[in-house]
C-alpha cells in the first residue's frame, strides 16, 4: 500500500463514525488514521466520540432481577417436550 495521504478535516469527520464503528478498512482507514495523527482538532473530536460510544457500550448489560430470571426459567419449563 502506498503512503497515506493527508485528507481534509471535512472528509475525516465524514468518515469518523464508520471508523470508530470498525466499519472503515483499507486505504480509507489508513488515510484517516494518518489525519488523526497530525490534526489536533480531529483527534480531539475522535477521542470524544470514542469515549461517548464507550459510555453507550456500558449500557449493554444489566443484572436481571431474580424475578425475571425465574419468570423466564418457568416459561421455558412450561414449553411442551
Amino acid at each position: 500500500m502506498s503512503e497515506p495521504v493527508t485528507m481534509k478535516c471535512e472528509e475525516a469527520l465524514r468518515l469518523l463514525a464508520e471508523y470508530l464503528d470498525g466499519e472503515l478498512h483499507g486505504r480509507a482507514e489508513a488515510d484517516l488514521e494518518h489525519h488523526l495523527e497530525i490534526c489536533r482538532g480531529c483527534f480531539s473530536r475522535a477521542e470524544f466520540e470514542r469515549r461517548l460510544k464507550a459510555r453507550l457500550g456500558s449500557l449493554s448489560e444489566v443484572d436481571p432481577p431474580p424475578a425475571i430470571a425465574e419468570r423466564i426459567r418457568s416459561l421455558i419449563e412450561s414449553f411442551p417436550v
Partner: protein, 201 residues
Amino acid sequence: MDPTPDDRAWFEREVLALLPALLATARRLARNGGDAEDLVADAVARAWVARGSLADRGRFRGWMFRILSNCFLGQCRSRARRPAEEPLEEEEGFSLFERLHQPFLLWWGNPEQEFLERLLREDLERAVDALPPAYRIAVVLVDVQGFSYQEVAGLLGVPVGTVRSRLARGRALLQRALWEHARDAGWAPVHPSGSAGARAP
C-alpha cells in the same frame, strides 16, 4: 421434529446467559421495566417456537436479538407508532463536541472531558429512550450491543444504507438531547456573551 430435554436444556442455558444483554436492550426499546420484561418473555416464547430455523447454534446471539427486535417493531406497528424517519435536516449534522469544545480553553479547562465525567448512566439512558423507535433500535444495536452495520441490516431486514442513515440521525438526536441536558444542568461552557454554547440556538 419434537423437542428433546436436551433441546430445552440448551435453550434455557443460552437464554439465561444472554438475559443481561436482552433485558438491557429491552429496557431501552420498551422504556419501561415491566414492558421490557414482557418483551423479553415474548421474544423467548417466539424463539422457542422458531428454534428449528436456527441452523447454526453458534449464531444464537444474533438470532435472538433479531427476534427481540422483531417483537419490538411488531409492538410499534400494532400501536400504530410510526417511527419518525425524517427529523429536521439540521439534526443530521449536530455535534455535541462542537457545542462543548472551546479551543481557547485548551490550557485552562476541557469542557468536553468534564461533560463526560459528569454524565451519569441515567442521563444516557434518558437520552437514548427519547429517540424515535427506528433510530433508537439502530443506536442500541450498534452503539450499545456492538453489532456491525451488516448484522443490524440482517436483524432488521433493511439495507445497510438504511442502517447508516438511521444511525447517523439517531446519534445526532442523541447528542442534541445530551447537549440540552448539559445546558440545563449548567455544564455547558459560558461564552463572553453570557450565553451557554456559541452555536446554541
